[in-house]
């Protein structure tokens, strides 16, 4: 097995980079400690466990022989990897209310802003960008919010809600106190909004991403 160890680190690094993911993300996906992945990619593990190799090979949809370099890695790895991830559109805040009708119409030809998500860990339907400073400093301007429309709203969840009184869509924290609900901004300069039965929760924030480049 020792002759193939040098191949494991190269092949695994290649697979990770092609999948546009980090070692930590892979570790999370296959439920293996990040340090184990790191030792494999840096060639520090003298004798990796079969369970580790099987999990990695299964995730990338290749055989263990391909992973350890005994069989050639076919150039379809990119397709295999892209099949494990999914894209969701980044839409504008004011269009979030019509997401159900809007999202099926969006394709790469008429919309340019899509992001990759992993459907196994993230049930996001769409993403929006934070505008304004109502949620400053916790959510800075241009932070991407991945919204799930299936999650049941709980106390202190960050939600995207439609307020009928002002006819606007807002991103706030939902505070539930018995039967009384209100939407609170992080920034104390913005007032709280009472959430009535006429208002509607569009979705809950399940993930945030910052692109600082």
């Amino acid at each position: 097995m020792s002759h193939s160890l040098s191949d494991i680190n190269g092949i695994l690094s290649l697979l990770i980079s092609k999948a546009r993911m980090t070692e930590a993300e892979l570790a999370r996906e296959i439920n293996i400690p990040r340090a184990t992945i790191n030792r494999l990619t840096s060639g520090k593990t003298p004798d990796p466990r079969a369970s580790t190799l099987n999990a990695i090979a299964a995730y990338f949809n290749i055989s263990v022989e391909q992973l350890i370099g005994k069989k050639p890695l076919l150039d379809n790895s990119q397709e295999v990897i892209s099949s494990t991830s999914e894209t969701i559109p980044v839409i504008e805040l004011n269009k979030a209310l019509e997401w159900e009708t809007l999202i099926p119409q969006l394709t790469t030809s008429n919309h340019f802003d899509f992001i990759l998500i992993d459907p196994s860990t993230c049930q996001g339907k769409f993403a929006i960008k934070v505008q304004g400073e109502s949620m400053w400093p916790q959510f800075q301007v241009n932070t991407l919010l991945i919204i799930s429309t299936d999650k049941i709203v709980k106390n202190r969840d960050y939600v995207l809600a439609y307020v009928k009184e002002t006819n606007e869509i807002v991103f706030r924290q939902m505070m539930i106190d018995g039967t009384y609900k209100f939407l609170q901004a992080i920034n104390s300069l913005f007032p709280s909004i009472t959430f009535t039965n006429e208002d509607k929760v569009i979705g809950t924030v399940i993930q945030t991403r910052l692109n600082l480049d």
Binding site: E25, W136, P137, Q138, Q207, L210
Partner: protein, 194 residues
């Protein structure tokens, strides 16, 4: 020759002003060319009459200090950029605690001010880590993703663990450290309300 003399005179004049401005604090680069965080969080206290938490911001190594309500300083980016990330983190925690009605009863009034430590390097360095995202795990604990600016590496850490590891907070930007302070306080409140 003439050029050398004029340069020497210019340098002396510059040094004079350099020393003069240092009477009030290191607002610009030091002699070695490095910038410093010239403000520091001296402490914080709760004012019962005004019903808000105040932070005391002091010019580093000087006696000049200013008392500012915490809700005011979190919206003042000019102050925040000149504060060390760990101080910004503490301000974030205080601000979010106040927003949720949590006050420290041990520091009511200026006399009982809770003083913060000053045990870190105050040189302004380029942040080596940046917060690139966050998500909630299966146990509904917020996990923060810290990305290295120079390596393709990522650290995943829960907000309470990040709070304990001050070295990680030192390596991020002050404004992001403020946000991390908010998230840590939020995670703490989540735990209590569960």
């Amino acid at each position: 020759m003439y050029k050398d003399v004029s340069m020497r005179i210019n340098k002396r004049i510059f040094n004079y002003f350099n020393q003069l401005k240092n009477l009030y604090g290191n607002f610009w680069s030091c002699e070695n060319g490095e910038k410093q965080y010239f403000l520091k969080l001296d402490g914080y206290f709760y004012c019962q009459t005004k019903k808000c938490t105040f932070v005391v911001i002091r010019i580093r190594n000087k006696r000049t200090a200013e008392t500012i309500p915490v809700f005011q300083i979190v919206n003042d980016k000019n102050y925040l950029k000149e504060i060390h990330p760990f101080d910004a983190f503490v301000i974030g925690v205080l601000s979010h605690n106040e927003r949720n009605g949590i006050i420290d009863t041990n520091c009511i009034g200026l006399k009982n001010m809770n003083r913060t430590k000053d045990y870190y390097c105050n040189t302004k360095i380029l942040p080596i880590l940046e917060v690139c995202g966050a998500y909630y795990n299966d146990k509904n604990i917020k996990i923060t993703l810290l990305k290295s600016k120079f390596l393709n590496k990522q650290i995943e850490i829960s907000s309470p663990d990040l709070c304990k590891n001050h070295f990680l907070i030192h390596s991020i930007d002050s404004l992001q450290a403020l946000a991390v302070g908010y998230e840590t306080s939020e995670a703490f409140i989540h735990d209590i309300s569960r």
